[in-house]
């Protein structure tokens, strides 16, 4: 729990890689990137790797699993946006364009590991295994998160920015005190890194040497505010060294690179090397939510430029070329995605659970006399209404 121990730990791991502790903590000079936008594998020397920052290619089976989740993720994003347009869902912050990040964040984890998502991380939550309609509960206007966080080891999606990173630290700390080998992935956006809780979470994780991966999706915008007005740092990954942890930046539209970087991060964390900060460079292709109008603050040209870097088509091209995506496999993947989309459409047709009497049930373990009194007042009103 002390810097001395941490310094030892850092110098140990950096020795393993044959580099200096600072070079271990600072991100590689170039963003980690394995696949070109058109799906071709980059030559090794252009992958952004340098000593201590090498990233092996994931296995074909692993890539196919990830690709399937990617296709489902994209389908879910677009289905949900459609449901919002149809007025069947209140609000949806789509991660269209960021699905590779979402998939990697969840798939890199093992069963007992925890995920801490934000409002934009529906696809990560789904990939973690939560049932589609459960994930969407809060977006339809219900009052609770919809799923049992403990059943899935997945926290409720957080809205107050970066507050959840500290909860992630606490979950890891509790596990560590009990001698459990739990890794936690804690997600946030580029804008959120400016909040004080981001700083406190990273510092606590480093000081207590906890296996937490802080995974930042830098999608270039915080609502309307471009990244250039959010930070002047060379990269967000550079923040790691200021906490005594390792940082890395990775192409957030390159599922292969993401899987490799995140898998290594989880392994390093699980082996006791402390927290890591991973910055994924991606792009929010759509407005912040359906309530936002992105035409007010960015040019179409920019969006179009990023369209060419789409994570789905990129991965598809690679798998096609590699002969992994047989027609049969592709059909199965589409089918799985469609099944989830149908679930969502069907679910949204059902009425939300909205018994107003329940408003008072979960404020405390048992209702205070004051709440019982207030509930009685409401029940009386409802009874009179029904009468």
């Amino acid at each position: 729990m002390s810097t001395d121990a941490t310094a030892d730990r850092i110098s140990e791991v950096s020795q393993k890689f044959g580099i200096s502790p600072e070079d271990y903590m600072l991100p590689a000079r170039h963003m980690i990137n394995l696949l070109d936008p058109d799906g071709t594998l980059r030559p090794q020397d252009q992958q952004g790797t340098e000593p201590g920052h090498e990233y092996p290619l994931p296995s074909p089976a692993r890539l196919m699993e990830a690709y399937s989740a990617l296709v489902t993720g994209r389908r879910v994003n677009d289905q949900n946006s459609a449901l919002v347009r149809q007025g069947r869902m209140a609000v949806y912050p789509s991660s269209h364009g960021q699905e590779a990040c979402q998939v990697a964040a969840a798939l890199c984890l093992e069963d007992g590991d925890w995920l801490f998502p934000t409002y934009r991380d529906t696809v990560a939550v789904l990939t973690k295994g939560v049932a589609p309609m459960e994930v969407m509960t809060s977006f339809r206007g219900e009052w609770h998160c919809g799923y049992d966080p403990k059943a899935y080891n997945c926290a409720p999606m957080a809205t107050p920015l970066t507050t959840q990173l500290l909860h992630a630290v606490g979950v890891a700390h509790a596990a560590k005190l009990r001698g459990e080998n739990t890794v936690v992935v804690a997600m946030c956006g580029d804008g959120a890194t400016s909040e004080g809780d981001f700083h406190e979470a990273l510092n606590f994780a480093a000081v207590f040497n906890l296996p937490v991966i802080f995974f930042v999706q830098n999608n270039k915008y915080a609502i309307s505010v471009p990244f250039s007005q959010q930070s002047a740092a060379p990269s967000l990954a550079h923040k790691a060294v200021g906490y005594g942890m390792a940082g890395e930046r990775v192409d957030g539209n390159d599922l292969m690179a993401l899987m490799s970087v995140m898998t290594r991060a989880v392994r390093l964390a699980r082996e006791g090397n402390g927290p890591l900060l991973i910055e994924a460079h991606t792009y929010r292709m759509q407005a912040h939510t359906n309530a936002d109008d992105d035409k007010r603050y960015r040019e179409d040209a920019e969006v179009i430029e990023w369209k060419a870097k789409d994570p789905v088509t990129r991965m598809q091209a690679y798998l096609d070329d590699a002969g992994l995506l047989t027609e049969e496999a592709a059909a199965k993947i589409t089918e799985a995605a469609e099944a989830v989309a149908k679930d969502l459409r069907d679910g949204m047709n059902q009425d939300a659970n909205t018994d107003p009497r329940e408003l008072f049930e979960h404020v405390f373990s048992t209702k205070t006399p004051q709440l019982a009194e207030q509930q009685a007042l409401l029940v009386d009103e409802l009874d009179r209404e029904e009468a």
């Binding site: 206007g141 609770h144 809205t159 309307s224 505010v225 007005q229 007010r296 603050y297 408003l359 004051q370």
Partner: protein
């Protein structure tokens, strides 16, 4: 999602005149536009005014209250900051220390909480702890309350936290004219003002001639709103004391009560700090009965304070206890359930029935 606030039959002074003029010109303006105009006029009137916050620049704010200000006044007068509320408030403190008049926006009520220490330990106390040498003229604008179908953390009514904190003034307009006048007054105040804007009113429209109102304000002819409650409707049988988003609900209740032959007076207190004891007490002494209506959870709230003050001051005029219609003591409910929590005209009328009319 849009609520049109009531046009008040007997608004007072400037408000009345302005409304009348506007009616003549027949220009309905929204509450949001009135705020936007107040900001623009303040930027024009006083070069030390600066506006900043999250998304208030190019986007014009998520509610568009700062729409067009960056384009018109430049990026140095109205600008976006990094995403950090404590940072925004803390930087505003420093700017106010150094001659500026910052007007900052918290994007939603619950997202002002990260700034609580800055607000409580510095904004509220800097004047005091420097023996008056470092006043902090600044305005913290907070969209608040429900009625718009907002998801969790987006509909808190947090006025009690700030009203309880010595050194802060707390304003909350409920009419379009007040939106303009009170924001101008807040910006011109030498004291820090927490300015609560009822979200559900942003799109409400009234006939108000903002230009005339501006001219009146700048000629110092507009009636003061700080510490001056507004009789939103005159009545004689009981008083509804309320503010912000609940004024329109109280007005609706008064209308319904009138149909039943009960005459309710509605007092819009406008500024919670300072509080207009005089107007409130006079009304209750006259009617002998009072209900306080507010949307925030009731426990240890501004409504509690009003009840306490009224019974302290008007005890022997009271025919019944002062009752409250407030939000329940629960986290603000999600869209599908918020209507059960919000004070409603019906709930006010039910409460009215309990004011021991037979006794």
């Amino acid at each position: 999602m849009t609520t049109t606030s009531q046009v008040n039959p007997n608004v007072s002074d400037a408000t009345a005149r302005a409304a009348a003029q506007a009616a003549a010109k027949n220009q309905p303006v929204t509450f949001g536009k009135a705020l936007n105009t107040a900001l623009a006029d303040a930027l024009t009137a006083e070069k030390s005014v600066v506006i900043f916050g999250e998304d208030v620049g190019t986007l014009g704010g998520v509610f568009r209250i700062t729409d067009g200000l960056t384009a018109r006044f430049g990026n140095e007068r109205c600008f976006d900051t990094p995403l950090a509320e404590s940072g925004i408030v803390g930087m505003a403190v420093g700017m106010a220390m150094n001659g500026m008049r910052p007007v900052i926006e918290m994007q939603f009520d619950a997202f002002a909480y990260p700034a609580f220490e800055q607000i409580n330990s510095h904004v509220a106390k800097m004047r005091n702890r420097t023996q008056g040498r470092l006043p902090l003229p600044m305005v913290i604008r907070i969209p608040y309350a429900g009625g718009v179908g907002g998801v969790e953390h987006h509909c808190d009514s947090s006025e009690a936290y700030y009203s309880h904190t010595p050194g802060l003034k707390v304003f909350t307009p409920s009419t379009v004219a007040d939106a303009y006048l009170m924001l101008r007054e807040a910006i011109d105040s030498e004291d820090p003002v927490i300015f609560f804007e009822p979200k559900k009113l942003y799109w409400s429209k009234e006939q108000v001639d903002l230009e005339a109102l501006a001219a009146e304000y700048e000629a110092r002819k507009a009636a003061k709103t700080e510490g001056v409650a507004r009789i939103a409707r005159a009545g004689k049988d009981a008083t509804l004391i309320t503010y912000g988003p609940s004024v329109s609900v109280a007005m609706e209740a008064a209308k319904l009560a009138a149909e039943e032959g009960i005459s309710l007076e509605v007092v819009d207190i406008r500024t919670i700090v300072p509080f207009d004891d005089e107007t409130v007490s006079a009304s209750v002494r006259k009617t002998g009965r009072a209900i306080v209506v507010a949307e925030a959870q009731g426990f240890a709230s501004v409504a509690s304070e009003i009840v306490a003050r009224v019974q302290e001051r008007c005890f022997h005029s009271l025919a019944a206890p002062v009752l409250r219609v407030t939000g329940f003591d629960i986290p603000f409910p999600a869209p599908t359930l918020e209507k059960y929590n919000l004070p409603s005209a019906e709930r006010i009328l039910d409460t009215l029935d309990q004011l021991q009319w037979e006794a």
